[in-house]
């Protein structure tokens, strides 16, 4: 679990528009890193720069501490946002072809393609041209194309868009397997619940700048407000008059409140206990969606 990919102060403009401003974050091996941002925030541009499809105006991307070379990129797997495979070529043929372009021997490419299609439940469609597949299956083929050479770094642009829930689970499981076997996985998504469930690390981008980056747990601690939820036996309305407490929600016996700086949460707990049994008393951890809303403001 070491940092393998380092995006360092990358800038990029298209014409007059600066789409990336000093973008920096890291991707660790063995972990899933979620790359989150609204449409047009700069996710795809960043990914294209990592893959060498686009050049940075300044800044650099390093792999194991050195600027990324063509040889390094042979070990990267990429799934672009706008999906594309040869429409008239069969699934097996193109996955094998892309495997070979990434340096696999013909035999290895064939063997891994077979295994991967099996794993992605796409074997039956292996002999069909891509244009004949359903959108969900095209997506699976695309993922197979990105994974065939067992990449050390996987860069997936919106890998879950267009997938049905079953396919999402399959792809999710495959990505986890890859991370467990040591690959670094960077994927972008706007499905925040999915990212929350899946990723170990996060980078949040808005208007071309990284607003927050780090491990999911760290970020949640970082953005945890002094907010608590409490459940007692009788009406919790008394909290309104408690010093240092701002009541946010009151629903009979349940309440959510913020504490003013310097107020002791244990004092509030004691005064609750003094009024009767307390069923629950806990800090409220923000969801990723909440953190996201906060950092992009």
């Amino acid at each position: 679990m070491t940092t393998v990919l380092n995006v360092e102060a990358v800038n990029r403009t298209f014409g007059e528009r600066q789409v990336l401003k000093d973008v920096s974050f890291t991707v660790d091996s063995g972990r899933l890193t979620g790359f989150v941002g609204a449409n047009g925030a700069g996710k795809t541009t960043t990914m294209r720069i990592i893959l060498g499809v686009l050049a940075a105006d300044s800044g650099q991307v390093t792999w194991h501490g050195r600027p990324v070379t063509r040889e390094d990129r042979q070990k990267f797997g990429y799934m672009p946002e706008e999906r594309g495979l040869y429409p008239k070529m069969t699934v097996v043929e193109q996955v094998v072809y892309l495997g070979r372009l990434h340096g696999l021997s013909a035999a290895d490419a064939k063997r891994r393609t077979t295994a991967l299609l099996e794993r992605l439940e796409l074997s039956e469609r292996g002999g069909d041209p891509v244009e004949k597949l359903s959108l969900g299956n095209q997506q699976r083929a695309q993922i197979a194309a990105a994974l065939v050479h067992d990449p050390e770094l996987l860069v997936l642009d919106e890998p879950f868009s267009g997938l049905d829930p079953i396919a999402v689970e399959t792809v999710l499981a495959v990505l986890r397997e890859r991370a467990r076997s040591g690959a670094a996985v960077l994927f972008s998504s706007h499905q925040l619940e999915l990212v929350e469930r899946l990723c170990d690390d996060l980078a949040i981008i808005a208007d071309g700048t990284i607003r927050a980056a780090g491990s999911r747990t760290w970020l949640r601690e970082q953005y945890t407000l002094p907010r608590y939820s409490v459940e007692v036996e009788s009406d919790a309305g008394w909290l309104r008059d408690e010093p240092g407490v701002t009541l946010l929600e009151l629903d009979g016996r349940r309440a959510v409140f913020d504490l003013d700086p310097g107020t002791d949460d244990q004092a509030v707990l004691r005064s609750a206990l003094a009024r009767g049994p307390v069923r629950a008393f806990a800090p409220v951890r923000p969801s990723l969606a909440e953190i996201f809303r906060e950092v992009i403001q």
């Binding site: 893959l51 060498g52 499809v53 042979q74 799934m79 594309g84 495979l85 429409p87 070529m89 372009l101």
Partner: protein, 355 residues
């Protein structure tokens, strides 16, 4: 992986795809069919020797010697009947008198008469039809191949761009490997198709025993046509790939490739219409875009001095080197610009979008 290895993989895919492309296979079969038609049709139309009816045995030997199918009949009435029934094309009766329905049968008449001997002062000179036909066929082959293969090169580049697979390709192999592989594959296929047609045609002419001295004049012409064809094709192929990369969608290809289509068509029509003008042909045989068709034509007609094709080939090679560089630059500068059509100037100014 080296650029060469990558280019080989790319070329391999292009060739596999093409060899399974029904339109390509059908087109090749169609061209072979027309070649066969051209070679064997005169023989088929000929319909074998003419039949002739003869009364008495006097002229039988002379007629048979002229290659006619002789049928001996009893009398004039029987002979006349056969002619009227069109069982035979003519009849020879006592006199000798030749009976025919309306046209005088030249072969029968000359078999029975004594012709003065003719001495040929220039026995190798080719007839008028061949003088026009051979350059036309070769020009047409070059025109057809560069245009159809060219459009296909452009389309296959645009397809990769439009489907975005180019992003995956470029992230794993150098852009020039893609270009080299594609151009090499198409050149190989175009040359293969042409070689197949030419071999088929020449062997067919030998088998059908048509052409005679024509074949001997054809061999050096074709010998020159092949290198001119390959280099001329290569010169255009990179440019086709470049105009394909300028387009963002297949619908754009026609517009981005229009200048190139003219560069293929104009030399073809110029060579055809100026064939009788030695000065114009000399100029055209050195201009790189028309040299692949004009120089072999001049070799065929015997107008070109021995050193001339070499010089034209050197000029063509030099131009090809330039178009390869220019084509590669435009290709690299436009391949990853997926937002609409790329202008020539933008592509030229930004030859390396890849970091």
């Amino acid at each position: 992986m080296t650029t060469f290895e990558a280019a080989k993989l790319v070329a391999g895919r292009e060739i596999r795809v093409k060899l399974r492309d029904k339109a390509f296979l059908f087109g090749t079969v169609l061209l072979l069919f027309f070649t066969a038609l051209g070679v064997f049709l005169p023989m088929l139309l000929d319909g074998g020797p003419d039949k002739v009816a003869v009364v008495g045995a006097t002229h039988v030997a002379a007629l048979e010697q002229a290659g006619l199918d002789v049928q001996v009949v009893a009398d004039r009435a029987a002979a006349e009947q056969l002619v009227r029934d069109e069982e035979v094309s003519a009849a020879v009766v006592d006199g000798p008198v030749v009976l025919a329905l309306e046209d005088a049968p030249q072969d029968v008449v000359s078999a029975l008469s004594v012709e003065p001997p003719v001495e040929f002062l220039d026995p190798d000179a080719l007839n008028e039809a061949a003088r026009f036909l051979v350059p036309f066929v070769l020009s047409f082959l070059f025109f057809l191949t560069t245009l159809t293969f060219g459009v296909q090169i452009a389309q296959s580049v645009t397809e990769e761009k439009q489907t975005r697979i180019v992003e995956i390709l470029v992230s794993s192999v150098p852009v020039r490997a893609l270009l080299i592989g594609k151009v090499a594959a198409m050149t190989l296929l175009a040359f293969g198709q042409l070689a197949l047609l030419v071999t088929f045609g020449v062997i067919g002419m030998r088998v059908a025993d048509v052409g005679g001295p024509l074949i001997d004049a054809l061999i050096p012409t074709i010998g020159w046509f092949l290198p001119f064809f390959v280099i001329g094709f290569l010169m255009l192929a990179t440019l086709w790939a470049a105009v394909g990369a300028l387009a963002a969608r297949l619908e754009d290809v026609n517009a981005t490739s229009a200048p190139l289509q003219f560069m293929v068509m104009i030399p073809f029509f110029l060579v055809l219409s100026l064939q009788e003008n030695p000065f114009a042909m000399t100029v055209l045989s050195y201009v790189p875009f028309s040299a692949p068709i004009a120089m072999p034509a001049r070799v065929f007609s015997g107008e070109a001095a021995a050193w001339e094709p070499y010089l034209a080939l050197v000029i063509l090679l030099a131009t090809t080197a330039l178009t390869l560089l220019a084509g590669a630059r435009i290709y690299q500068g436009s391949l990853l610009r997926t937002n609409g059509r790329t202008s020539f100037a933008t592509a030229w100014r930004n030859p390396t979008p890849v970091g």
